[in-house]
């Protein structure tokens, strides 16, 4: 077990697109244990993705069960996750282990359906909503080389504001 170094902005490697996992072996599971230890060592992160520790494979860990009144699937290790359906949108504030001392508002889908494999290679499907769906989308962005700062909307933007269109 080891705590791994977290890449932080402006490290260009965070922009890299990660490759699918093909071998579900002990080496993979040992890396996942290190990734989890790294997540827990930092400031209260609900999720972490492999590319944040410079392993450019489609692996992420999340756990939002510590948040009160939040529908969740507990501790999840998701390998090769793929969102197959999404619905709704909401603004929420996000921060990231890879972007210290900054938070911003981001629009995310409120409901998603997801396919993913577990560390043994078994396929599963999940339905997620709200905070858990947000966490999943945040982590999946890392696999595609995106950070929440790529999606931040103006601090003045809010859902109740309506644009007035000139006719």
């Amino acid at each position: 077990m080891a705590i791994l170094d977290i890449l932080t902005l402006p490290d260009p490697r965070l922009k890299q697109v990660s490759a699918p996992v093909e071998s579900f072996d002990d080496e993979l599971r040992s890396f996942i244990a290190d990734l989890e230890e790294t997540r827990l060592a930092g400031p209260a992160a609900v999720g972490i993705a492999a590319p944040q520790v410079a392993r450019f494979q489609r692996i992420l860990i999340m756990n939002v069960s510590g948040r009160p009144k939040t529908p969740n699937h507990g501790h999840l290790v998701l390998v090769n996750p793929e969102i197959v359906h999404w619905e709704g949108y909401a603004i929420g504030r996000e921060g990231c282990l890879s972007v210290p001392d900054y938070t911003g508002n981001v629009i995310r889908a409120t409901h998603i359906r997801l396919k993913a494999q577990d560390p043994q290679g078994q396929s599963h499907e999940y339905e997620m909503e709200g905070y858990e769906a947000r966490a999943l989308q945040h982590e999946m962005d890392h696999l595609d080389g995106l950070l929440f700062v790529d999606r931040v909307v103006s601090r003045r933007t809010d859902l109740y504001r309506r644009k007035v269109y000139q006719t």
Partner: protein
């Protein structure tokens, strides 16, 4: 020792203010910190942290030609940097009502009594000229519960102001 200057600048809005001001500062070797720049009514306003070994009068002199040409008024205050210590808000307060004098004072007085620290406040006068509405959005930190704050603010609805307090969760991922 104050190591930064807070530059306050205001003028009638027009394209080019930000570029001209920041270019002039860059040319005399100033570094810029955090900033808030926004159009308020027909005015463009800048609050900008400016660092460097420059005195107040050197910065004033560097900006004088631009200020003169674009009709900007400016002011400088020496301040401590205090960077890399962002405070995250845990609550958002949305306020809306028919525009009248005293809304901001009424709302923020109650918040202050609850120990609410305002980190950000923006407000707009919306609606039509003959029937203006006031919309304000506050983000801040307070360790009281949502119920306590809502109870404290409930007197405002009797005065025709709608106030909604909601949690701001920062998701760290």
């Amino acid at each position: 020792m104050p190591d930064w200057n807070m530059l306050t600048l205001v003028g009638a809005d027009r394209p080019g203010i930000v570029s001209r001001v920041t270019r002039a500062l860059y040319q005399v070797g100033c570094n810029l910190g955090e900033a808030s720049m926004i159009r308020l009514g027909g005015n463009f306003t800048i609050m900008l942290m400016v660092s460097g070994e420059h005195t107040d009068s050197e910065i004033q002199a560097a900006l004088a030609p631009v200020a003169e040409e674009l009709g900007l008024r400016l002011h400088l205050d020496p301040v401590q940097g205090g960077l890399h210590r962002h405070l995250a808000p845990n609550l958002q307060v949305r306020v809306m009502g028919a525009d009248r004098a005293g809304i901001v004072a009424d709302v923020t007085e109650i918040l202050a009594e609850q120990g609410f620290n305002i980190l950000e406040l923006e407000s707009d006068v919306a609606g039509h000229q003959e029937r203006p509405i006031y919309i304000m959005n506050i983000q801040g930190y307070c360790d009281r519960t949502l119920e306590t704050l809502n109870a404290a603010l409930s007197t405002l609805s009797d005065r025709g102001v709608s106030v909604d307090v909601s949690p701001v969760d920062v998701l760290i991922g």
